[in-house]
Symmetry: C2
């Protein structure tokens, strides 16, 4: 079964908003055996929306639209769908009750514009939107479905998970007796090798594997993710077999056997070893900290950080001697080692990671150009430090520095994991 996402909103087409919804929906669809065939982003414009729906119905079984469901005049999706499916708006008692309950403490919201939210297309199946006011609408179009949902990311995510996916899966089962295609993805992550060098190592593998198992290379921030995919043809056993072969071929560079973010892998390794971590950050400026505590449950292993953006903070809060800062510089092995050891000691964790670098655009010199980053890992067994050159653009440098810091931590923790076995 194939789906297409149509995201509706001028804000996407003028670059005012990044479309994070589609990626999340894509994951949810894939996890449920529904192939996402295409994503189309269109303007808040009647003719444009209609053309996009027409085209999508030629390509796929299920059309999922997001956006344009707010109470304001620029939101036109509901009316366009009424026209498309030749229906009209009627009041929905359940939606009205839900909205009145949702905003019972917010009289400023319960006004006549919000009241338009409980008007729904007569021919649509209405599913409840637990966390917002825009109802979820399902239109049946022959054997095809069109689902309209709000574009607010967390409303969309809950709607998909709790209402829309179950509805689609159930509909498909009852009406077509289709077995769902078995979509399989397996990803591993490697580092320390270029994409083309990796491809040469994998030439025989690519020639031998069946054509319906696809291999993709996804390089980012010095990590290459290698993904095997199959859309319905490979069995789980077959995928596992090829995945094991792949793993063996790249073992030397392997840092993860899953697609999990690096900080999740670090977190799991720390928890399994009963260990904790703190960071001292200069150039990464708190980004590493916020990655480490991004996911639920991080308070078990992540305790805190000192972001020492200014040199006075390195001196006062991390005890880097003024002399070291003056003679070696803030971006130096000496400084970053003291930072890592100091934060580990002060916060009282098993490990401490420190970063100091030149994120640019200014501040570079001939001996330390923009992109130079020192990273140190303080451990109970001692401190290791390494210098990297991570490119020229500010965001790229800090993202890559976080990836290097986490990759280094994974290596340290994995070697212990190996030893303790």
């Amino acid at each position: 079964m194939r789906a297409e996402i149509i995201t509706i909103g001028d804000e996407l087409l003028i670059g005012q908003v990044v479309d994070t919804n589609s990626a999340r929906m894509a994951q949810q669809l894939n996890d449920n055996g529904i192939e996402l065939y295409q994503i189309t982003s269109v303007h808040d414009d009647r003719e444009h929306i209609i053309a996009a729906i027409d085209d999508a119905f030629k390509r796929v079984d299920i059309v999922l639209t997001t956006g344009g469901l707010g109470p304001t005049k620029d939101d036109i999706t509901k009316q366009v769908l009424c026209d498309y499916f030749d229906t009209h708006l009627i009041e929905d008692e359940r939606v009205r009750t839900h909205i009145k309950e949702l905003y019972k403490n917010r009289p400023d919201i319960l006004n006549r514009l919000t009241a338009t939210q409980w008007m729904v297309p007569e021919c649509a199946v209405i599913l409840p939107n637990r966390v917002g006011s825009a109802p979820l609408m399902v239109f049946h179009h022959g054997k095809q479905l069109l689902v309209s949902m709000p574009g607010v990311p967390y409303e969309m995510e809950i709607a998909m998970e709790e209402q829309i996916l179950p509805y689609i899966l159930n509909y498909e089962l009852q009406n077509t007796n289709h077995e769902f295609g078995h979509i399989l993805h397996r990803t591993l992550q490697v580092t320390g090798i270029s994409e083309s060098a990796l491809a040469i190592i994998l030439e025989d593998f690519e020639a031998q594997k069946p054509g319906y198992i696809r291999l993709a290379y996804l390089p980012k921030d010095g990590i290459i993710r290698l993904r095997l995919s199959s859309y319905g043809e490979a069995t789980e056993e077959e995928m596992s077999e090829w995945f094991e072969k792949l793993k063996t071929l790249v073992r030397e560079y392997l840092i993860a056997e899953t697609d999990e973010p690096l900080e999740v892998i670090v977190g799991k390794l720390l928890v399994s070893q009963g260990a904790t971590i703190a960071t001292a950050e200069s150039c990464t400026g708190g980004k590493l900290a916020s990655l480490l505590n991004k996911h639920a449950g991080s308070s078990t292993f992540y305790w805190g950080s000192i972001v020492s953006y200014d040199n006075s903070v390195k001196e006062r809060l991390l005890g880097v001697p003024k002399e070291v800062l003056n003679t070696r510089g803030a971006v130096s092995e000496e400084t970053v080692r003291i930072m890592a050891e100091s934060v580990r000691k002060q916060i009282g964790t098993t490990y401490g990671i420190a970063t100091s670098g030149i994120a640019g655009p200014t501040g570079g010199s001939e001996s330390k150009p923009v992109g130079t980053v020192w990273i140190a890992w303080a451990t109970p067994e001692g401190t290791r430090a390494e210098c990297f050159h991570l490119g020229k653009l500010r965001e790229q440098i800090t993202d890559r520095a976080c990836a290097k810091a986490l990759t280094g931590m994974i290596k340290i923790l994995s070697s212990k994991q190996g030893n303790s076995k």
Copy 2:
């Protein structure tokens, strides 16, 4: 002149990667008077790419494709474009020289797969890719253009800015004598009012303004951005006039007269007042710090942070008495006030912001449910603290907490700006 972006890559359609490129390209196109009409994301699949190009040529003048240009087998865009434009690959001397120079210190990359990168379609105009190995290709299709560029974000961005936009603008000027449509967007930001209440305030405004000036509402993290747009019809003066009217109507809720991120507005206000800032973060975990130092030039006003995720860190590094933590709790007015004052004093900045809240999914109670966040702003004139309820989902709560912290700071700094005038 209209453009469409076709992003090529399975990773987008299985949700392994968020498409940030399209938003950036959309901004670049709009800034140069080129309307982005549609974004289409397709699989690394020959027939699918061809169908998407065919469809796009029916809609727009310029088709911009990203992705599928790497040296590995899963990258098929170049070959598909050769087939589409009925041409074949030839060696390009300049591209070869560039790649050899680019990787002169990386012999592991200069292998036979990388060598495929200097093979280019004979009929294409080749533009240099200063920072990567995949050449930029322009195909002329009657009066229409198709441009193919790599999907690596920073390569794409530099390519657009330095090569592709100048090429397109120059081509259009020479070949059609077209004047570029004048695309105008003006955005302001408000807070403290619901979308529907705002729309009621703006009803007369919406009825009076010309139809070719569009008003859009973009709510996010407690901020609503109001955008006026015109695609070629309104003059700058006319836009300014309606923008001023809009500003007057929402003055009570106004926090910014531009679309700049909140942290940029805070930074500019701090710099103009010669002031500095530090943060003490619990629930936001370094996210506020990394926002404040995200942009170039932030070292002038942002000095550092203490991320006190664990209570022991609040006690030891921020001096929150154990008694306060035990009797009032980590998420309390008392704690957050001490945190803000302590970080301001220890780092020695003009201002200190502190956050402490329950980001969930666990840790909530009846009196302090998940989503409860205390924020304090320590200033030379004293400390202000406020409690917020920011939803139920972890990422939403921390994003909104950052927005509230920055909004509060803007209010404090703006009132001073007003006073000092």
